[in-house]
């Protein structure tokens, strides 16, 4: 257990990534749209100032867009993924103890550093990421991860803090907790916030002072951990992800509702293919595959969600094998008459490809399939993903289940043919 964490998080990450390559938009309102150009998932501060909220549906803000000449982008995950990688690598130069919490947030464990000038160190982190990568970040430092999150949030909101806030002094911590609403505490969702406020707990400070027994009785053991963390007792250590993923999941929400089996089959087999290529990339095979489908849990129509798990006779990373079993799984859980919103494939029980024990009764020609897979991977690397597909994946033409991304920017950092072009 350590006693000092920094949370570094990027400001308006997707919007900031787009802006780095568009100096003409540096002070303008911009928004980034979710999958299927559905709703707003990132806004520049200027867009926030115009009243645009996170999650606002695109069609609802079209008037505002015209009025204020707001630039909008479809999500460019290739770009954001690469930029996130650059930020994390930059943070790694400050300490090797990093937990990449999400695409734009990382926890740094500073517990081993003695006599650190925290304000300078934190400011150095902020300035270095901005200079080296080009993305603005805020840094919050505190004795627990939950408090570091609170520090980070205040660092972002307070002009005086200017993006850096150290919360180690008990007086400062108390003041910060009093200024933080209970629903803004990490681990307290909107449901719990409503529940807690009915008992008079509306700030993080009041939550911190709640009795342990009461929390255990009315909430959960996770809430108790949150409360302890608010008190400065670390309950969560850094979670450093292992090199290889222990399970790989590919899933997508559909652009439109899907009702027919052949269409979901296309989606599921594409996801299985993607899992297969991710496995090959890390030189692993998987011995278990799960297929899941679901309707929209937030709508009025009937809810249905199901998973089928299949243990494979031999661990594999072949498109053909995984697709075969994904299809079998889907056929067993698909029920007609529902409006499906999402489907996915998860592969697990992952082992290095060299360790795979072949099944005595296996009749598949694995060597031949491997050669085929390698060839497909080569074509994919050269010409882009889904260049070669198994027939049941569909022809890739605009289908209901494909993502709509009509306003995507160039992949400035991942495709040579899309790098910035400058007139000199």
């Amino acid at each position: 257990m350590t006693s000092l964490f920094a949370l570094v998080d990027c400001n308006n990450f997707y919007a900031s990534c787009q802006r780095l390559f568009r100096p003409d938009l540096r002070t303008k309102p911009i928004v980034v749209l979710s999958n299927n150009d559905g709703c707003v998932i990132a806004r520049s501060n200027e867009a926030k100032g115009l009243g645009i909220k996170m999650g606002d549906p695109f069609f609802q803000i079209k008037e505002l867009i015209k009025q204020h000449d707001i630039t909008y982008f479809s999500s460019n995950y290739e770009l954001y993924g690469d930029m996130s990688f650059r930020v994390v690598e930059t943070l790694r130069t400050f300490t090797p103890n990093i937990e990449v919490y999400s695409v734009d947030e990382s926890f740094l464990d500073l517990g081993d550093f003695k006599f650190l000038d925290l304000p300078s160190y934190a400011r150095n982190i902020k300035n270095t990421v901005k200079r080296d990568v080009g993305v603005p970040v805020c840094v919050g430092v505190a004795p627990t991860k939950t408090l570091a999150k609170i520090a980070n949030r205040l660092a972002k909101k307070s002009t005086k803090a200017d993006g850096v806030l150290i919360l180690t002094d008990p007086y400062h911590i108390e003041a910060a907790l009093k200024r933080t609403a209970v629903e803004d505490v990490w681990g307290v969702g909107r449901q719990y916030a409503k529940f807690l406020s009915s008992y008079g707990i509306t700030t993080a400070f009041e939550l911190k002072n709640a009795k342990d027994a009461w929390i255990k009785k009315h909430c959960s053991v996770f809430m108790l951990r949150t409360v302890k963390e608010l008190r400065g007792e670390p309950c969560a250590d850094l979670e450093v992800n292992p090199e290889d993923k222990q399970n790989i999941c590919t899933s997508r929400s559909f652009g439109e509702y899907v009702t027919e089996l052949p269409e979901i089959m296309e989606a599921v087999t594409s996801h299985a293919s993607k899992c297969a290529s991710k496995l090959r990339k890390q030189n692993s095979c998987a011995k278990q595959i799960e297929v899941f489908i679901s309707t929209n849990r937030y709508s009025d129509h009937p809810f249905y969600h199901n998973i089928k798990k299949i243990i494979l006779p031999t661990a594999t990373n072949s498109n053909l094998e995984l697709i075969k079993y994904a299809k079998i799984g889907l056929e067993q859980i698909f029920i007609p008459g529902y409006l499906y919103k999402k489907a996915g494939v998860l592969v697990s029980d992952i082992m290095p490809a060299d360790n795979v024990q072949l099944n005595l009764l296996d009749t598949t020609d694995h060597a031949k399939e491997q050669t085929l897979m390698q060839f497909i991977d080569g074509l994919t690397d050269k010409f882009g993903k889904d260049t070669v597909r198994v027939a049941c994946q569909g022809t890739g033409q605009k289908k209901d289940w494909n993502l709509k991304r009509e306003h995507v920017s160039p992949c400035y950092t991942t495709r040579l043919d899309q790098i910035l072009t400058i007139r000199i």
Partner: protein, 151 residues
């Protein structure tokens, strides 16, 4: 087919399965990776191949690629169509070729300081240097560390 009991010296017995060998049956071949053959003498000397990244930049995480169009930097071997590697992490001093933002547009020029004043200097006699004044909308984006173009 009857199993044949065989008496062992300690008075226990085992049963031998009586198999009719006139039936053909195929056994699947158990295949696995077997190391065989002579190890390569080169194995001890294998090193990683030269990575193009090492030649282009010392700091991949802060380096970006851009393509340029135009002739304003021809005289220093940056012809139209060149691809430049730009490192944002490096300090910029007088004499460096940089990517800058001027009036919200990208440009590539040599950054020069002379007698307390700063300039963006083209490398082509057709064009004039631009003085960088404090009121100007100017920002350094990064230092050019490598120029790539076809011979």
């Amino acid at each position: 087919m009857k199993n044949v009991p065989v008496l062992l010296p300690d008075h226990s017995y085992v049963e031998l399965l009586n198999v009719d060998l006139s039936d053909d049956f195929l056994l699947p071949l158990y295949s696995c990776q077997v190391s065989a053959g002579f190890p390569s003498p080169a194995d001890d000397y294998l090193e990683l191949q030269i990575s193009i990244t090492d030649i282009v930049t010392k700091n991949p995480r802060s380096t970006y690629f851009v393509r340029v169009h135009g002739d304003s930097m021809e005289d220093v071997h940056i012809p139209d169509g060149s691809v430049l590697a730009v490192d944002r992490s490096l300090e910029v001093v007088s004499g460096n070729i940089i990517i800058a933002i001027v009036n919200q547009e990208f440009t590539v020029k040599r950054y020069m300081k002379r007698k307390g004043k700063a300039y963006l200097v083209p490398e082509n006699k057709k064009y004039q240097p631009l003085e960088i004044t404090p009121e100007m909308d100017f920002e350094v984006w990064g230092r050019v560390v490598m120029v790539m173009h076809n011979p």
